[in-house]
Assembly symmetry: C2
Homo-oligomer: 268 residues x 2
Amino acid sequence: MCGSPSVFLRFCAMSNGRHLSEGDKLPDLPKDGKLRLYSMRFCPYAQRIHLILDAKDIPYHSIYINLGNKPGWFLDKSPTGKVPALELTNESGNPTIIESLIIAEYLDEKYPKRPMYPKDPLLKARDRILIDQFNSVISSMYKIFLQDLEEVPGAITNVVKGLDLYEKELRHRGTEFFNGKQPGMLDYMIWPWCERCDMLPYLVGDKYQLDDKRFEKLIKWRTLMKEDSAVQRSIISGTDHANYIKSRRAGRPDYDMLVIEGKRQRVA
Amino acid sequence: MCGSPSVFLRFCAMSNGRHLSEGDKLPDLPKDGKLRLYSMRFCPYAQRIHLILDAKDIPYHSIYINLGNKPGWFLDKSPTGKVPALELTNESGNPTIIESLIIAEYLDEKYPKRPMYPKDPLLKARDRILIDQFNSVISSMYKIFLQDLEEVPGAITNVVKGLDLYEKELRHRGTEFFNGKQPGMLDYMIWPWCERCDMLPYLVGDKYQLDDKRFEKLIKWRTLMKEDSAVQRSIISGTDHANYIKSRRAGRPDYDMLVIEGKRQRVA
């Protein structure tokens, strides 16, 4: 997945930001008008915003937060203490907005270049319903990632059943991406969890493979998504995702496992 | 609340639709191009859509569903089996859309008369964050409405803490409604649960009153909302809400308690 040198370089460039903890100062960022994304390297919701910003070529700084030991100033940026949070240095008073889908839709409205939704309100509503319904797939995936292994077979059945809807939709649309010839909001909003499916063989063995025929379109879509330039900027390999999840299961999430030794907090 | 004769008449006109059950046929509605809202008289999420349709003066038929014993054809309209579902007779193939906030935003985009959101993407995002955060108030309210009475004091504390954010916001905005001089998306999306606060004295006694000073703006807002013409078309009194909740707690939700004897399914 990160095989080609160019992809590997971009992957490394993205991943060398240390996660800031209690006691760390707010980075002294240049007043260059760039948006500031408070993120965590392995958070799929934060990844949604990296994807939209990268797809739309919006310049931004990434500030990574140690969610287990947050810096005091982070609550001023994100009152709920969650990532993603986007600080809008282009708006009066530098406000911060939260909630991944709300941030993504704000960006789509504020930066209309390369629209992420169809213009037609009905087609847009359909995409939004599919984004919403993906939440049940996400819930089942978390059972696999984080909970007791005994629950895995049932949860995998639920994930597979949930994905049927998206396979059916891709077949119905007859396009490579849900959004047509290139990814749009629905593609990017569900991608982070589809990327994380690559860690399943490392967590539960390779007996749980998606059925090639049942999910023919979705498997093709996954391959194409991995070639998308925005996806390539934030993608993490299945082994790395699995190692992070193992550290989280052990109660010591290793947020900085992709940080390159000796490098300081990166301003992307 | 439903004291004046005019309000009372409108209230009755809204409430005489019997909830259709298994075995009931799909009503033979005229092909008049009106939208068709599948609803349940006491469902706050369905009420959100009545409010938006009524505020925007969009003509529609209401079809009420017995959620405990649904007609077979209802799953064709709403695959998840939930209300609200809106059948779009103005779109090719009469598709149905679901999820209250998605339906409300579809209506706002499709029928731009009286926009429900501010035009500015940041102000819109702020309203959407407040709609999203209200979900935690809703969760606590359901504990009061439906769960063990022993949990009530803690849940009421959580509701009151949750409402602080909305009082603060109204003070900050300095307007009568969250949307300014008339209600908008945020006002209507949170209203159904604020309306249901009137049932608390009938469920848990009158010792849990909102503090007049702490919630000065919000209490004024509630009074003004009750005077809004869209709200008046769907409002239900505190005693009626309480009686419905009591029937639901007893395991026999009385969906038809507001249906006037002898009247048949109403096509609104």
